[in-house]
């Protein structure tokens, strides 16, 4: 049977000082932010904040110095991002660029292309979005229809993307598209392109979610030209590239901390005093939280050593999404003797927000069922 690797990570010795520096920066920057805005976690958007964070050197930390990064270790970056999430910093603007797009460019793009984008990303000025899902392709990603065909000096792209986070407030998309018609091998013929969203033929609409927030959108490509050097990696290799990106995408601290602000608000409002039932709930949540952090850190350690634990990452994402989705329900169920029910409190407002926002946690980045399918394959059941 497959053995899953969750060797515990020992953090590098100097992380405590980095943590202190990030905390003191956040103490100042987030002083005015309302509790419910902190609860937006990595969906909270502030281009201004992203620029300030970048000026501290905390965006694109692992990228080469020549491209504006600081060649820090992946674990130092991990410490910074978990601090940002725990504090509820509005990181959405640069999140995707920092987490995966920049790393993809560093890995696959030509030097000229890197110079064109990466330094601006590291300054927190250039934001990226991910174009994978389409109207008729969600879980079944290989069925995408958006296609690129060759023309003189480049490619012309036609089709559309849907549910693209920050579509309307990013400059660049990395899109997965078909470069050859779908044949027998479903995963062949897909390629990744860098698309400048100010290009002619691009039309973008934001979409309101059921809370009225506009964090994602739809994008239409009508004969959009991209030059040859905008093909990312090898033609036809898109599926593999996307999959190694997923290991970066699925195990980070954002996969279990999306509801953390509610727990923090709860503990703050209790101020050390509560009944036995609430004490137990707090114990249970803490045990899950601690365990998930150990799992996520273990994967961070493995990624830093150059392995790609994608099966383990799927486990963390699924367990983490269940945890952050259940947390608001546990808090709601326990309101009463100890947990105050004042509807105007920060706690109550944060709870309402997360009850409504949390269904998306097990959809974005791969649904529960798809992740469990990947794990089942790893168990040899498929």
């Amino acid at each position: 049977m497959q053995n899953f690797n969750f060797t515990p990570l020992k953090m590098p010795p100097d992380v405590a000082s980095l943590r202190r520096a990030v905390r003191s920066f956040l103490d100042t920057e987030l002083a005015e932010l309302k509790a419910v805005d902190k609860a937006q976690s990595w969906a909270g958007y502030s281009a201004d904040f992203s620029r300030k964070l970048a000026s501290k050197g905390w965006v694109g930390m692992t990228w080469p110095k020549a491209l504006g990064g600081s060649e820090a270790s992946a674990l130092h970056r991990y410490v910074v991002i978990e601090e940002l999430l725990a504090a509820g910093a509005p990181v959405a603007a640069h999140w995707i660029a920092d987490r995966q797009s920049g790393t993809l460019l560093v890995r696959y793009a030509s030097e000229a292309v890197q110079q064109r984008f990466v330094p601006a990303m590291a300054r927190g000025e250039m934001f990226f979005c991910i174009g994978m899902s389409e109207p008729n392709s969600g879980s079944d990603l290989a069925s995408i229809k958006t296609k690129a065909h060759r023309v003189d000096g480049g490619w012309v792209i036609n089709g559309s993307k849907l549910w693209t986070t920050n579509a309307h407030r990013s400059q660049i998309m990395i899109a997965l598209v078909r470069t050859t018609a779908q044949g027998q091998a479903r995963h062949a013929g897909l390629s990744q392109f860098i698309i400048d969203l100010s290009s002619e033929g691009v039309k973008i609409n934001s979409i309101a979610d059921h809370l009225g927030a506009r964090h994602f959108g739809e994008i239409f490509f009508d004969n959009v030209f991209v030059s040859d050097d905008m093909l990312l990696g090898a033609e036809g290799d898109g599926w593999n590239q996307v999959n190694s990106e997923l290991a970066l995408e699925r195990s980070g601290p954002e996969r279990y901390l999306s509801s953390y602000r509610l727990f923090a608000e709860l503990l703050e409002s209790l101020d050390g005093e509560c009944d036995d039932a609430t004490t137990q709930t707090i114990g249970e949540i803490s045990a899950d939280l601690w365990t998930l952090r150990q799992m996520s850190m273990s994967i961070a350690g493995q990624l830093a050593e150059g392995s790609e634990p994608s099966l383990e990452a799927s486990m963390v994402k699924d367990l983490g999404a269940c945890f952050e989705q259940n947390l608001p329900h546990s808090v709601q169920a326990g309101i009463g003797a100890s947990i105050p029910s004042d509807r105007d409190s920060d706690l109550s407002e944060t709870l309402s927000y997360l009850l409504m926002a949390s269904p998306a946690f097990s959809l974005r980045g791969g649904t529960r069922e798809i992740l469990r399918g990947i794990i089942a394959r790893g168990l040899g059941l498929k």
Binding site: P8, R19, A264, L267, I375
Partner: protein, 352 residues
């Protein structure tokens, strides 16, 4: 894993697999115990000059895990923990299988003849109590904590139903019994309970993996509706969830063992045992469900693991015990709240 740990893992996994008591065979404690001790498995924490392994909790975890994974019906884990406590308390190690237990209403007093101490108290549900030669327990006396060793033979047996897996859990009453050794030891009871909880956590992790492995093997082989059960998505999704529980508990046990090696692990052990306990209900339910009727028969081996899982969930702290313990720890955190606390735990480890 270090090379030494790999070697240890190979040794114990092979050894324990051979020792699995086949159905109907009586446990041969003498010969099986001899095999274990000849290899020094009970001496994980004992120094190298004394013929031990000079090991860590991370090493001991490997033994606990494989004891769970093979449903080993011998008090090897208890003996290892007992010896570690005695080593920490500078008490000479008794021979034979040892066990650990906490006492209710206990009392320590100087012996009438002025030589040593006498202990009175009830030890309930002592794991392998009567099979063991000596019991390590804790007691408070004149506002000080003591760790002490009792001879099992001095205990008056007052029943004690075996646990769900048929492992002995004996009630033993001591009435002014002379203690074999005693040493002052701050926080003796918490130390004993915490280390024992870590041990059970790692055993639970092993038994969960065994239940997963049996389930995977079974659904690949068993056919219904013309294909293996493994090909049904409902089955695949259930086993993925089981695998996630296995992974979470395995990770928690390893991280808690590391924390125990590095010092104060009150938080980590509480979290790990609670996480392990919380996995037991859904994990055993899934493992049995995918097996169908064969899984609940006496002749099929699944119950050897699920029964232990049900038993170990309540031993050395059930969910409620550890949830309240951990909850109180979290509520007592002052500076910077929970997040500052749990990150400080891992950052402090980093500096060691």
């Amino acid at each position: 894993m270090t090379q030494q740990q790999q070697l240890l893992e190979e040794t114990v996994s092979g050894l324990f697999a051979e020792m699995v008591v086949p159905m109907g065979r009586e446990l041969d404690i003498d010969s099986d115990w001899k095999t274990l001790t000849q290899l020094g498995i009970d001496n994980i924490f004992v120094g190298e000059d004394e013929g031990g392994f000079a090991g860590s909790w991370q090493d001991a975890r490997i033994v606990f895990y494989h004891a769970g994974r093979n449903a080993l019906a011998l008090p090897i884990c208890e003996t290892i923990v007992a010896k570690k406590l005695l080593l920490d308390a500078n008490i000479e190690l008794p021979k034979g299988p040892l066990t650990i237990a906490t006492a209710i209403g206990s009392r320590l007093e100087p012996c009438a003849d002025g030589d040593g101490y006498a202990f009175s108290g009830s030890l309930k549900a002592v794991a392998w109590g009567r099979i063991s030669s000596a019991i390590v327990t804790a007691c408070r006396h004149h506002d000080k904590d003591y760790l002490l060793v009792l001879s099992s033979a001095d205990g008056v047996s007052s029943g004690g139903r075996a646990n769900e897996a048929g492992e002995p859990r004996d009630n033993l009453d001591f009435n002014s019994a002379k203690v074999l050794a005693v040493s002052q030891f701050d926080g003796a009871e918490q130390a004993l309970w915490g280390k024992a909880a870590l041990m059970r956590t790692a055993q639970i992790s092993g038994a969960l993996d065994a239940a997963l492995e049996m389930s995977v093997t079974h659904v690949k082989g068993r056919e219904q509706f013309g294909r293996p059960l493994a090909k049904f998505q409902a089955i695949q999704q259930q086993l993925a969830m089981l695998a996630e529980e296995c992974a979470a508990v395995n990770c928690a046990a390893q991280a808690a063992a590391l924390a125990e090696d590095l010092g104060n692990s009150r938080f980590e052990i509480a979290a790990a045992k609670l996480r392990a306990n919380r996995s037991v209900g859904s994990a055993t339910s899934i493992a049995h469900q995918v097996h169908g009727a064969i899984g609940v028969t006496g002749e099929y081996n699944l119950h050897r693991f699920t029964q232990r899982l049900w038993a170990w969930r309540s031993e050395f702290g059930n969910d409620r015990f550890w949830a309240e313990n951990l909850g109180r720890q979290v509520l007592a955190v002052k500076d910077g709240g929970l997040w500052a606390h749990i990150t400080a735990l891992s950052d402090n480890h980093a500096q060691q």
